[in-house]
Subunit: 405 residues, 2 copies
């Protein structure tokens, strides 16, 4: 053990929406911590900071390696999650608990809301002159964390979305009509954009892709659908749950009132947006066969469809967070940054908590086409190595038989 190494217990927790690989990060951190003498007890808090406040802790040091490895391959937060923004009073109580359990290493796996929570806790620790290490471990299928090329969970969500559109495009080809699929991602379009990876043949859907980064105008949407339908006799549309009008009002927010503790409108867990868009098409274009599906929670925790790159990187960010903390850094978030060059390579960097907290990252302009209804080749090149190989799609040559007289 190095001189002046901070010795004490560790606590780790998971927060926000689950992903298919969030447990890889948990297990990555726990297995690394088990190797470190500076870290004594390894506590897991149940349901994020709620478990700290209520002292609902489990001893992760007693979990066996086979059990941890099985958990790593299992989607959704094994420790339970929470959508809770701590108040100033919550933070004081959290420190009471952390001190009581001699926690010197704190790791919080989550999105930008969780980075904000970690930042608040870290500030509180500084104020009370309690020596400890506070790290955020990134995850979110929305892929909307600043400082990151991409975030763990996104690639597996993107793989699900791409495969779902592959199948749905074939379905729509067999029974033509207009098909709308509503995809998660809140105010970032990355996951919806991943639908474009489904394309194999030139006439494959999605034929239109609507992202929250561009204002959504119903009239232009209807004109786009009519144009594609006239060309192909069918139309597959990818729509982000977070599409907003020119005033920034989410289209979905017109139909729901529920918000979480961070003030976020509930965009998922309802089919209202898809049904609204389908009704508009039926009413305004005269096309009769119009269907809408909302992919919903399947996108974020589907077992058996994990991207290999995603699983590997999610494990790595957990491990790296422990290394940075034990190495002496007081706080930070582990960001995934892509190295320049032709082949896909990444590095894991420590960045300040504040730099990933609160604000979200959006699709860069280079990833969106001029008309604002599709992605560019640059996006495909960005996303392809993350998602990895997709199922092969065969098609009949379809040699036409000459009509007999």
């Amino acid at each position: 053990m190095a001189r002046n190494e901070l010795v004490g217990n560790m606590l780790i927790a998971q927060s926000g929406g689950p992903t298919a690989v969030i447990n890889q990060s948990l297990v990555g951190a726990v297995l690394e911590a088990k190797k470190r003498k500076a870290i004594r007890k390894i506590y897991g808090s149940l349901h994020g900071i709620k478990g700290i406040l209520e002292e609902q802790l489990v001893d992760l040091g007693r979990e066996t390696k086979p059990s941890l490895e099985a958990v790593a391959k299992t989607p959704s937060s094994a420790l339970g999650s929470v959508r809770k923004k701590p108040t100033a009073d919550d933070c004081r109580r959290i420190f009471g608990v952390l001190k009581k359990y001699n926690v010197r290493y704190f790791f919080y796996i989550g999105g930008n809301d969780s980075a904000e929570t970690a930042h608040i806790i870290h500030e509180e620790a500084r104020k009370s002159k309690y020596e400890f290490r506070c790290f955020h471990i990134c995850k979110t299928i929305d892929n909307d964390l600043r400082q990151n090329d991409h975030t763990p969970g996104f690639a597996s969500g993107a793989k699900f979305v791409a495969q779902a559109f592959m199948g749905d495009n074939l379905d729509n080809r067999a029974l033509p009509g207009v098909k709308i699929n509503v995809v998660m991602g809140r105010h970032a379009g990355f996951l919806t954009a991943a639908s474009a990876l489904a394309r194999v043949y030139p006439d494959d859907g999605p034929h239109l892709v609507y992202l929250p980064e561009r204002p959504f105008a119903m009239s232009r949407f209807l004109a786009d659908v009519k144009r594609v339908y006239a060309k192909y006799g069918r139309c597959v549309v990818a729509v982000s749950e977070g599409i907003s009008d020119r005033n920034g009002t989410p289209i979905a927010s017109l139909f729901t009132k529920e918000v979480d503790a961070h003030g976020n409108v509930q965009l998922s867990g309802t089919g209202a947006l898809g049904d609204l868009l389908a009704a508009q098409i039926r009413e305004k274009t005269g096309i009769s066969r119009v269907r809408a599906d909302t992919f919903g929670y399947l996108q974020r925790s589907f077992p058996g469809l994990v991207s290999d790159v995603d699983a590997r990187e999610a494990r790595a960010v957990g491990r790296e967070a422990v290394r940075f903390a034990v190495g002496g850094y007081a706080s930070g978030s582990v960001a995934i940054q892509r190295k320049p060059g032709k082949s896909y390579r990444v590095e894991f960097k420590r960045v300040p908590l504040r730099s990933v907290a609160k604000e979200t990252r959006h699709m860069p302009a280079t990833f969106i086409n001029k008309a604002g209804n599709d992605v560019t080749t640059a996006f495909i090149e960005y996303a392809r190595p993350l998602v990895g190989p997709l199922p092969k799609i065969g098609r009949l040559k379809g040699h036409a038989v000459k009509k007999r007289k």
Copy 2:
């Protein structure tokens, strides 16, 4: 070639909702036909009987084996599908086309509606004393064909549903609340019942399963949800799109007016049923976090999640149909029947067209629990060998840490 063997061309078509393995049946039939000298040209009709009426045919005999094998592994009807019930006039025109192309072998891949169509066409052929062989090749994710132990397409749909519920149960465990998932199947509960295959641990969801075979009463549903929520602090519910009240009125039909040519109400492609049930729970139980997802078309054509048994059997029914027809049978449907015994084995039987047409099969009473809100062990034992292995689900032992004073 045997004496008196009927020599001529073959025509094959696909109908109704696509499945993940419907092209296995197409390819099974085509590859078998290629070996048979009695069969000359192998025509495929585009979009079912619509392609016959419009003489939109392709020459499947010119497709290469690698191309056919790639198509076999690809979900959704490669020839295109249709939802069209032929009129008497349509049937006369169909015979005009069949005679013109010297079609002596006709194969129609589809559900009970398609068996009915094949039956009508066969009757028309008999009336006009046109010698030909007319076979129905079964498929439907709804698993509702009489004479069959199960139908091609069901097992892959069931695998998707089971994996979706595995992930969603983990999601609901991480962020507790009530989660409703609406599953396809029309008036048969098999696909919804397959959600129960997701259970690994005793407290795993789905905690409640509502099937169209039992009348749905809102008051009992709400009481069930409250009871489960009180016990586990969460509740995952599987609901068939086809649930009906005691008068047989589908709950979903209160929210849609669209019907297809066979008089079937549109139950899929809308989130209305799930949203209605979620609103009822919010309003009547006081539980605040309630979400609903409608799995929609993903269930029937998701690539990369095919059941091996399903793929093999779908191939076999296509092949067997050609063998029966060339062997001399005038008409029939190829049914999958399970052999008695401990290990899973099936046989493929020729049954009369009329015996699978029109009427649907329902979940037997032995597959449904007394309360009408779950399946029985008998159903699990029935479905498990069809679906095959599912992803391993790990769980932390979760050794509780003693609270410090």
